[in-house]
Amino acid sequence: MLDFSLPSAFAPPAQNAWHGVSSAPSPPRMWVQGTVQAQQLGSSTTTAVKDSPVRDYTGETERLSFLNALLNIDLRVQALRIEAEIDQVPFSNASHADFRAFIRQVPSRVRPAIFLRDNGNLRALWKNDDQEQIGLQFLGGGDVQYVILKRRPGGRLMSHYGVDGRAGLMAVIRAAQATALFG
């Protein structure tokens, strides 16, 4: 389901879980897989973020890298939202919500390239210098269209592409041995 409403570019979304995230240092703590709570990110919510499928958060440096990536992602998305309003093209809030949920589920230390598709969906692209990539278009409603390119040792790129929900998608990414592309 796509939501093609055009929100005001100059008013932030009513609920933006990234706002209020503080990058101020705090005492080191071990973030244990399956028990990480949004509270630790400075949010007032206590909703648990369960079963991070990619990595544990260990150490303050990783935590700050993750927070920095989140803030940069937020800035980029807001810029795209403004551009959409100026160009009078759609911006899908449902896609944005899916993207935000994914980023919190799969924390990345690097900000992906983020694009606004003509259909209003956001697409995120993680790539490396070896032309490997994870490209994800957030379709809204929990579905993600993916294009994963992973190089065989010394050879051509192996491609994986299709549409799946977040859980299935993570299985595809793991099977492709592409999780390292998240940084």
Binding site: R76, L80, E83, A84, D87, V89, A113, I114, F115, L116, R117, D118, R123, L125, K127, Q131, Q133, G135, Q137, Q145, V147, L149, R156, L157, S159, Y161, G162
Partner: protein
């Protein structure tokens, strides 16, 4: 000598593809920029043949800007592809060994528009609703050569990238 309409461009030549600003981020180009739309790209993806213009790379890009029939926004970009490398890369890495063609397709003068003898087409790409369309778009996007140029002519003395 101007090649005939439909003649393939030389492998060592280059083309520029117009890319919307929201399809470029930190020099990365979104593959959607290389997807064919049924209503607009039935014959192929429009590109500008860079070697049609003489001079340095910057002068060639300036020539391409002048020949363009689109009105560019300030955030729009021009992505450069090498013909032979793009064909090879897609063929080597597409699961069905898709082979693209880059062909000359000069546009005649019409109405108030001048002729555009540099206009060319990328042929062989599936339409945007095909299952493998995004894959192909991403494969082509991997062939984009740095730098990605501003589509709108920069102010005098400013960098065009």
């Amino acid at each position: 000598v101007e090649p005939a309409r439909g003649a393939p461009l030389d492998d060592d030549h280059h083309v520029l593809r117009y890319v919307r600003g929201r399809h470029v981020d930190n020099g990365n180009v979104e593959g959607e920029a290389f997807l064919a739309r049924k209503d607009k790209d039935a014959d192929g993806l429009s590109v500008t043949w860079l070697e049609w213009f003489s001079g340095s790379l910057e002068e060639q890009v300036a020539g391409a800007r002048q020949a363009a029939r689109l009105t560019y926004n300030s955030t729009d970009r021009l992505a450069r592809l090498n013909v032979g490398d793009s064909i090879s890369f897609v063929r080597e890495n597409h699961p069905e060994r898709l082979t693209l063609s880059f062909i000359h397709d000069p546009l005649p003068a019409e109405d108030k528009r001048a002729a555009d003898p540099s206009h060319s087409l990328i042929v062989g790409a599936p339409f945007e609703d095909a299952p493998d369309a995004d894959l192909l778009g991403d494969l082509i996007a991997h062939c984009v050569l740095p730098p990605v140029f501003r589509a709108k002519a920069p102010a005098s003395g400013a960098s065009g990238t």
